[in-house]
Symmetry: C2
Subunit: 122 residues, 2 copies
DNA sequence: CCGGATCGATTACGGATGTAAACGATGGAG
DNA sequence: CTCCATCGTTTACATCCGTAATCGATCCGG
């Protein structure tokens, strides 16, 4: 059962902090993403139906929490993109970005550190 | 106007080689992706309507060629994923992969080379 | 010159998605 | 006790997507 992009915004909020009430989730969404409350309610219900989240009653309201691990979702999505666009491999994606948008110094530094830590493992 | 995942398979074929006739495109699609001919025709028409490709008459048939540059598409998709899942930054994605599936030696080597070439630019 | 094969164009159709209003239960204010 | 505000639930609806059948024009073999 797939999590759509709109739904992923809700998951995002829950992955950042949970459990949260519907109201809190609405508040936690990016400002530029201004959905009607009803819209978020719909997304919550769809996620419930997909067993991507669970709801625990807390008085008259519910507190929601993720059932799908962020890592699993992120991995599936990322791998899907790599498969579709980069023959499933990571380096070409990084290469792509290094040519288009210059990588930020921050990114380069992070990547460098990452590779070093890989060395250490060996 | 967005290019869907199914449509992107067709684009993939055209980016690899163009112009191609519908028949050639069908042949060029991955074997595991066995669509009815009619399906590919539909996708071609949708892509035409979206101005993602163009068709030039060649006798009784058409030869199709991409109008959208592969780089542009790839960039939009990739950036979208990064924005949705990694706060728009690249390093966290790489970090993610380095934790889950071990990066292949190939990938690591490629990344290392990439970073070195970035150094050279400076 | 005719009928079948072949193209592209048109139409179909169920399910997912984005977006949201309407409805029904219920708890709290007065 | 009653009525409104507030939740979650149900229903709505246009569009997109995946998948494909059908239709109409046209070319080729006989």
């Amino acid at each position: 059962m797939r999590i759509s992009t709109a739904e992923s915004q809700v998951m995002r909020a829950l992955w950042a902090k949970s459990p949260l009430s519907a109201e809190e989730i609405i508040a936690a969404l990016p400002v530029d993403q201004d959905w009607a409350d009803a819209t978020v309610k719909t997304l919550l219900n769809r996620l419930l139906k997909k067993d991507a989240i669970a709801a625990d009653r807390d008085g008259r309201r519910f507190l929601y929490r993720p059932l799908v691990a962020q890592g699993d979702y992120v991995h599936a999505e990322s791998q899907g993109l790599l498969d579709r666009l980069f023959d499933g491999r990571l380096a070409p994606l990084v290469a792509h970005f290094s040519q288009r948008e210059k990588l930020s110094d921050q990114d380069v530094a992070d990547l460098r550190r990452l590779l070093e830590s890989l060395d250490d493992d060996k």
